[in-house]
């Protein structure tokens, strides 16, 4: 019980300096971080599974002979009901006689695209705006942080629903709507990070040499933010995938006949008694993808940020 409490060799928590430990421009720091990541078996396993999911979605046409939108009304439906697994349809068909496995793989494309782009865009916005707030300070900082407070106290799903229902639902709108409501959290993180970096000696040194602020940001601050950017992007993907699936499930996501895990579940709900696999297959796909991103994200955090003890 509480073994660390007895270990005298433990350095006092929070006193290991993450920033001075990393010489971010030197490749050896990244090599060491990559090695730390590969030692983490759980994260490596998750990364492997994630790679499989990415490959299966990206190369879906190579793995499946079916068109995801083609309705096999003759052999894909029996008395108007989806058929179970056969040689032709490995997981069976959906309520329109379309091949379930093929749609599952194509649905992965939408989930991954929305997840990575929405999370990436929101973290990049957060980095830029947060850095401006942290670097410039003063009234600009106050203004930005009040805006962040406002966005953080929005009833998120109501606003996304409103946004998506007023504009025509599409892949782009889904990504933009999710990103537009999730940049506030990252902005806070990056502002805090930048305003503490700003006080450090190497920044003072750069300033006293007359380096202009944009160059200080690009050459001296941004490299220190890269690990955080990677961590926050991978940890933001699950939220975006959840939001995309929710919109699809409500019929407000990427419109049919494009397959998404959310709209597959929406179609499947009509047949949940006869054929629960319609809901279970896309559901399990979401769970696995999200678990993988969470585990890879926490592995990245452990590998890139040694100050966080887990």
């Amino acid at each position: 019980m509480f073994k660390t409490a007895l270990r005298i060799t433990d350095a006092p928590e929070g006193h290991i300096d993450f920033v001075t430990q990393m010489k971010s421009t030197s490749p050896s720091w990244w090599v060491a971080a990559a090695r730390r990541f590969t030692y983490n078996r759980v994260s490596m396993g998750a990364a492997g599974l994630l790679l499989l999911i990415v490959l299966a979605s990206t190369f879906a046409p190579f793995f499946s002979g079916h068109d995801p939108a083609k309705q096999y009304r003759k052999d894909g439906l029996k008395n108007g009901l989806p058929v179970g697994p056969t040689d032709q349809f490995v997981l069976g068909t959906d309520g329109f006689g379309r091949d379930l496995l093929t749609r599952l793989m194509y649905g992965g494309r939408v989930a991954l695209l929305v997840g990575i782009f929405a999370s990436g865009i929101s973290v990049i916005i957060g980095t830029i705006i947060g850095s401006i707030a942290g670097l410039v300070g003063g009234g600009v900082d106050t203004l930005i942080m009040r805006l962040v407070d406002i966005v953080l106290s929005l009833p998120t799903l109501f606003v996304i629903l409103l946004f998506v229902s007023l504009l025509k639902p599409s892949l782009d709108i889904t990504i933009v709507a999710i990103a537009a409501l999730s940049w506030a959290g990252p902005t806070r993180v990056f502002r805090a990070e930048v305003s503490s970096l700003r006080e450090r000696e190497f920044i003072t040194a750069a300033r006293s040499l007359g380096t202009p602020t944009p160059q200080i940001f690009l050459r001296h601050i941004l490299p220190h933010l890269l690990p955080l950017i990677m961590i926050y992007i991978s940890l933001g993907v699950p939220t975006a995938i959840f939001a995309e699936a929710s919109l699809g499930f409500l019929g407000l996501g990427v419109p049919p006949p494009t397959a998404t895990w959310g709209n597959m579940m929406q179609v499947g709900i009509g047949f949940y008694r006869a054929s629960p696999i319609q809901i279970v297959a896309p559901g399990i796909a979401i769970v696995f993808t999200v678990v993988c991103f969470n585990l890879v994200g926490s592995g990245l955090r452990d590998a890139l940020d040694p100050t966080v003890s887990r």
């Binding site: 509480f2 929005l154 009833p155 998120t156 629903l161 007023l166 629960p276 678990v291 969470n294 003890s309």
Partner: protein, 310 residues
């Protein structure tokens, strides 16, 4: 203190004004509500006289800024307008559904905390044993399950196969069990993981070491010294979650057809019932703003290091 409260409440009001402006702008940018309200027959243009009548009826014949100002004026008098669809005051519709939402939110929160906190504590005390690993593994899986997917699984097994509980609807405590579980279980999993890592961070801190050095037993250190400190961030998280729960868990409500504010917004979005959407976003923002304020006050109470008003 009074000054602090006033400042915070003022900010809530500013947020609500900003949100209303944004919502209003979005709605009017996306099309003429009068045209959407007119009865549509496929292939036939709506009668311009009907549209003109609707404009007059709902004050839509005035310039948009004037409409907006008169809306704000109404809101300041506690009047949220009349639903286009139900022809009833929005205030009445929201009040009608609010008790259901409140019951659902409170039950979810109670269940999530009752499951999550003990599990998190046990996992931390038994850390790196099989108990800890079992808890963490199942929680890692559980937080990756979208609430609406869990809802569908519970419906299939418990309501449909075993016929233990009603499929959907509301009214009796039995109707609450499945919707509550499908939101509370993933939430509980998140609290478990969060509390565990907080406890582990606190255990190696200096005050815990001092307590142990005085010769206190491990369990006593854990319960008396570590737990109160580790709980503070969980309290913040839970109060924020509660505020979000009050704005509804739209997907789960729609799966169970549970009449609540979230489901009402979803229907309003589909009917383009602008006053209901506006009113709900407005009230949602108010609830979240007040929730944040209360969370900060509770945390300041629990943690004497945090001083409110500075």
């Amino acid at each position: 203190m009074t000054q602090y409260l006033l400042r915070r409440l003022f900010f809530v009001v500013v947020t609500m004004l900003a949100v209303s402006t944004l919502t209003y702008g979005l709605i009017f940018a996306s099309g003429d509500p009068a045209v959407m309200l007119a009865p549509h027959k496929p292939g036939v243009e709506p009668d311009p006289r009907v549209i003109a009548a609707i404009r007059k009826r709902y004050n839509l014949d005035q310039p948009v800024p004037i409409q907006f100002l008169s809306y704000i004026g109404q809101v300041l008098q506690g009047e949220l307008g009349e639903s286009y669809y139900y022809r009833r005051p929005v205030r009445e519709l929201l009040f009608e559904k609010f008790p259901n939402t409140l019951i659902l939110a409170i039950t979810i929160m109670v269940v999530a905390l009752t499951i999550g906190l003990p599990l998190g504590m046990v996992a931390a005390i038994k850390r790196n044993t099989w108990v800890d690993r079992a808890i963490i593994t199942s929680c890692t899986l559980m937080i990756a399950v979208p609430a609406f997917f869990l809802a569908l699984i519970l419906i299939y097994f418990i309501a449909f196969r075993m016929r233990l509980l009603p499929l959907s609807g509301y009214g009796t405590p039995l109707h609450l069990i499945l919707p509550v579980l499908s939101v509370a279980l993933p939430t509980a999993a998140a609290y478990t993981i969060f509390l565990r890592s907080n406890v582990l961070n606190q255990v190696s801190s200096e005050y815990a070491r001092t307590a142990r050095a005085k010769g206190l037993a491990n369990t006593r250190v854990a319960v008396k010294h570590v737990l109160p400190n580790a709980l503070i961030p969980v309290v913040t998280l839970a109060s924020l979650d509660f505020a979000y729960l009050l704005t509804g868990v739209v997907l789960v409500e729609s799966v169970f057809n549970y009449p609540s504010i979230g489901l009402q917004v979803l229907q309003a979005v589909n009917n383009r019932d602008v006053p209901v959407i506006m009113g709900s976003v407005f009230v949602g923002t108010l609830l979240i703003g007040l929730g944040n304020l209360i969370a900060d006050l509770i945390v300041a109470r629990l943690d004497p290091r945090i001083r409110v008003g500075h």
